[in-house]
Each structure stands twice: as structure tokens, then as C-alpha cells.
């Protein structure tokens, strides 16, 4: 009988456009679209910024030393035009009024400093809020630095190695998987927690508050089927919807990386391929399942209690923030899965997934997180059952 109720509720849910949008369409399309737009927009910004001819205003270079060097930098590093200014106030004004993009202030005594083999302090003026300005200033600055270093070494008759007696090298012993787990591992659980929650939301409201509002719940409760069976049948649809939304979001992300060429880094792709093993996928779903049941179990009593769709939405929407905020814990370094964090719902799943990606999740930790979430899911179900049995909740 539970399966019959599940089948009907699923059919009903799959015919609801709003649920279909939140369960399938948005999760699948959000990452390919947003990542594609993000990559394309930043690419076009970078391209237009690097192709743009930058006007550099120079003050104080009476001997044209730096102006010559600037002009000698090849245009392949970014086209430029050098203009001479009489004082720094005018130079600043030209930057503020966007007549020039960069300003270079050369100290008046630069020739004597160079002659005495002392340090010449060059000052760059720029509007850092504009895209690409800082990058250009650094590029030209390092080119001038390279000219000056070569000139000074030549004058002193030295090779560059002679003034570099020591060089430090760091070797990262962590595997690529672990690094990805640490750096990007917080992102994956965040996705499935957010979409798992959103996926549960509409069916939970529709199948409980919606039925109450439409008067179909009253009819349904007159059939010779136990209330717990009706509840479980409906709950299965809510959980399936949450699971499907989370899976679709992950699928959308995978499609973006694999087929839309959004992750150009070959090493990153290799790591992703090595992470996506059947064991990883099964373990991830094992963590996701009790989490989504927990979400459904939290939402259903609210949906049963609410008198209208609006009321249910107004309670569950802020709850979204309460549930999804702990998912952000995965973005913070240093917080690890331990005896305490394993007992905090949502946080434990995030940390376990992070370790799962990094390949450092032990069976004991996995089982403790699964156990905690399973227990919480059971509590949530019993809470739902209690609410579903109350006369005041089921009849408007």
C-alpha cells in the first residue's frame, strides 16, 4: 500500500511544473549556465583588458631613462602609449578623469641614485577598481625591474646566481586528491545540501499543506489505510525529490566540467576522474540519503502544521538558511571531522564528504556520521508521524 501511495504521489508531483523546475530543470542547468557565463564573462574581460592600449603618464624622468625602457617593452605584453607630465598633481588628475590609465612617478634624483648604485623608488598610480590596471602596472613594473637588475649586475660584473646564495623549495606531500578535497571539497557537499533541501521543499508543502488546503487530505484519511503508511508513502516522494535534485545538481556540475570545457586544467580533470569511483558515489549517496530524510522529517511537521501554502513557505524558507549555513563550514580550513563535529547534523556530512573526496575518511568516521544522521532521520520521521496523527493539524 505504501508503494501505491508513493506511485500516485510521484505521478502527481511529476505533473507539477513548479516541483519539476526545482527538482530537475534548475539543478541540472544551474551549473552549466552559471559557470559558462562566469567563465565567458571573465575571459572576455581579461581579453579586452589585455588588448587595450594603456596610456602611461610619466613624471620626473628628465633623462628619459624609464620612458625609453617602457617603450622598449614589446606590445605583445600589452599595447601602451607613454605620455610625459610636468608634475604629479596633473598626473593624478589625469587618472581621476580617466585620460590616462597608469601613472609613473620617477624621483628627481634618479640619475644620481643610479650612479651611486642606490635604490630608485618608482611609484605607480592607478585606479585598482578598473579591471586589468593592477596587472598592467605589475607587468610593466617587473619589466623595468628586470632591466634595472640586469644593468646593475652588468655594472658590478656579477651573475644573478652570485647574489642569490640560497633558494627555498617547498614540496607538497599531500596527494592531489587530498588537496582538491581541502580546497574544493567544501563545494560539493554545499551543492547537495542546498539542492537536497530545495528539492524536498516544494513536494513537502504540496503533499501536506497543499492537500490540506485543497481538501484532498480529508478524503484520503477516510480510506482503510494506516496513517503511518500514508505518511511514509508521501515522505518517500519528498525524499526522492530531494535526492533527485541533489543528484541533478551534481550531474550538472559534472557535465560542466567534463563536456563544456570549463575546467581547462588537465590535472584537475584527472583528480576528478580518480575521485569519481563507484565506492565514492555509493558512499556519498549513503551520506546524502539520511541527510535528505532528515530534511524531509524537519519540513513535513511544519507542512502538516501550516494552514496554508503561504504559511508553510514563510516558515520553511528561513529554515533553508539555518540548514544551508552549516554547509558553508566546508569552506573553512582547519575544521575537521572528530567526535564532536560528527554529532552536529549537516556539519558532519559536509566534513565527511570533504574527507571522502580527499580519500582520508575512515570507515569508523563514516559509520558514526551515517549512524548519527540515521538516528536523526528516525527522530524526524517519528516527529512527522506525531504531527500527522493530530486532528488539529490534518483538518483545516
Amino acid at each position: 500500500m505504501i508503494f501505491r501511495i508513493f506511485r500516485k504521489e510521484l505521478l502527481d508531483t511529476l505533473r507539477d511544473r513548479r516541483t519539476l523546475m526545482t527538482m530537475l530543470v534548475i539543478p541540472i542547468l544551474i551549473f552549466p549556465i552559471t559557470l559558462n557565463v562566469f567563465v565567458e564573462v571573465s575571459k572576455s574581460f581579461e581579453e579586452s583588458a589585455s588588448a587595450k592600449t594603456v596610456k602611461i603618464g610619466v613624471v620626473g624622468d628628465d633623462q628619459n631613462h624609464f620612458i625609453k625602457q617602457l617603450k622598449s617593452i614589446p606590445d605583445s605584453l600589452g599595447p601602451k602609449k607613454v605620455l610625459v607630465f610636468s608634475d604629479s598633481t596633473k598626473l593624478r588628475g589625469a587618472i581621476d578623469s580617466k585620460k590616462i590609465e597608469l601613472g609613473l612617478i620617477v624621483p628627481k634624483n634618479e640619475a644620481s641614485l643610479r650612479a651611486k648604485e642606490q635604490t630608485v623608488q618608482l611609484t605607480w598610480l592607478l585606479d585598482a577598481a578598473e579591471v586589468g590596471r593592477n596587472e598592467r602596472a605589475q607587468l610593466y613594473g617587473s619589466s623595468l625591474q628586470a632591466f634595472a637588475d640586469a644593468e646593475r649586475l652588468n655594472k658590478l660584473g656579477l651573475r644573478s646566481e652570485q647574489i642569490k646564495p640560497l633558494q627555498n623549495t617547498t614540496i607538497n606531500c599531500a596527494s592531489d586528491k587530498k588537496m582538491i578535497g581541502q580546497l574544493a571539497g567544501g563545494f560539493l557537499p554545499y551543492i547537495f545540501i542546498a539542492f537536497g533541501f530545495i528539492g524536498c521543499m516544494y513536494p513537502a508543502i504540496d503533499l501536506f499543506t497543499g492537500e490540506k488546503e485543497r481538501g484532498t487530505l480529508e478524503t484520503l484519511l477516510t480510506v482503510p489505510v494506516s496513517r503511518w503508511k500514508i505518511l511514509v508513502g508521501k515522505m518517500l516522494v519528498v525524499v526522492s525529490s530531494g535526492m533527485l535534485a541533489a543528484t541533478c545538481a551534481l550531474l550538472g556540475l559534472f557535465i560542466s566540467i567534463e563536456f563544456l570545457d570549463l575546467a581547462a586544467n588537465k590535472e584537475l580533470l584527472d583528480v576528478i576522474h580518480s575521485v569519481l569511483t563507484p565506492t565514492f558515489i555509493i558512499s556519498m549517496f549513503a551520506l546524502l540519503m539520511p541527510l535528505v530524510i532528515f530534511f524531509a522529517g524537519v519540513m513535513i511537521p511544519i507542512a502538516i502544521y501550516a494552514k496554508s501554502f503561504k504559511e508553510a513557505q514563510s516558515i520553511i524558507t528561513p529554515l533553508n538558511i539555518v540548514m544551508v549555513l552549516p554547509a558553508m563550514i566546508g569552506f573553512f580550513p582547519g575544521i575537521e571531522l572528530n567526535f564532536t563535529t560528527a554529532f552536529i547534523p549537516v556539519v558532519n556530512v559536509v566534513l565527511a564528504t570533504k574527507e571522502l573526496i580527499g580519500g582520508t575518511l575512515s570507515l569508523g568516521s563514516f559509520l558514526s556520521v551515517f549512524g548519527v544522521m540515521f538516528l536523526l532521520a528516525c527522530v524526524a520521521i517519528s516527529l512527522s508521524l506525531r504531527q500527522f496523527g493530530k486532528e488539529s493539524n490534518i483538518l483545516n
Partner: protein, 252 residues
Amino acid sequence: MIQVSNLRKEFLLTRQQKKELNTTENKALAVSDLSLSCQAGRIFSLLGPNGAGKTTTLRMLATLIEPSSGKIQINGIDAIAHPQQARMQIGFLTGSTGLYARLTPIEVIDYYADLYGVEKSIREQRKEELFTLLHMNDFLHKRIGKLSTGMKQKVSICRTMIHDPSVVIFDEPTSGLDVITAENIIKLIRSCKDQGKTVIFSSHIMSEVDLLCDDLAIIHKGELKFSGTMQDFKSQMQTPNLTEEFIRIVQA
């Protein structure tokens, strides 16, 4: 057959409800010591103004809510102790047409037939009978959300009758319907009586009550004001028509 004795229902009031009702009481009495008997092969009408306790009574009979005290027997089954067994005997048509707008009539009927455990061979025959009787064949595969009020009510009635219940409870079945659809439904209620079913029927339309009912009960503020046969009611009337008599009893 339905046997009701000393039925009582109290509802706990929320803070907001207390404010609205301007009371300090924690409970509101919806039905008070109601005793009724509805026989098989007869139509019993439950009458009362809005807020009299009709719907609460019908919901208790349909085992949707539990009484605070009292007894309900449906065909000899204790409906409070064994609600699921009692539900197999009952077909309950609620006041509002509660149907799934995204499903088709045939999907809804099949769903309820499954929930009532109606065997496939019996179900097909039953569906055919009901679809013909209620003239439903033209819209069986359309989404319910796109049907008219009359069509929806027909689907609701069909859903109520699919398991061939021996006790049928109709809560204002013709409310808001056109004359032709209402007439079809009245015919169906009559056919239920002819088949020996116990029929409870609540309505605000006194002409319908006069036309259909064998027995009637009038309740007001949860209390029984009259219970007896239609014949007894008419013989005891102190006013020229049913409506006026109903008002007189309620206001007494």
C-alpha cells in the same frame, strides 16, 4: 446500519481561537450527547444551521476524527476501536470537492480502488456502472483541474462509491451544482437506498430533504433538537412548510 450513542466532541481551543470566540474556556463543545440510529435501506438526513456540529458529526462517523466520548457502531463494528474495519464499510463524500487537479478521473478512481483493496475484475465492472450512471465517459482522461464543478463532483461521488460501501455519507452533495447534475446525484442517492445501503445525507436545501429522506435529525449548537421519521416530523409541524418549521425548531 449506523448506531450512535451519547456522542460527544470537544475541541481544544488555541489562544487565537479563544480570542476570536471571546472566551476563557480551554475547550469548545462541538457535539453534545448525540444519539442516532440510521437503518439500512433508508435515507437519514442530518440538518442544522452553519456551525451546528453536522460536519463534526459526519467526520466522527467517517472515523476521520475521534469522539471525546460515546459509541459509534457501523454495521456492528465498533468504529472507535476498529476504525480501519469500519472505513471499509463507509463511503464519505466531503463538503468540499477534494480531488487531485493534476490527475485524471480514471487515475483518481483507480487510486482509491487500490486503497480500498477492490479486486481488478470487480473494479472494472463497478467503474463501468458508475461512469454510465453519472455520465462520466466523456471526461475520464482529462485532468481534473480542467473539469467543471459538476464534473468534479461526479468524480468525487464515483470515488466515494468505487468500493461499493454499505454505508454512504453525503455532506451537502448537491451544493453549488447545476440542476441537471444535482438531479443525477439525487438519482444516485435514491439508487443507494434501493440497493439497501445506509445513507446519511446533509443538506441546506429543504426541498431535497423532503424529496429524499425517510428519517431526519436536527441539531443545533451540538445538541439534538429533533430525531424521528419524516412522517413524524411532518405530523408534528406547527408551521405550514419544512423551512419554517426547521427555523422554528432551531430558534426555540
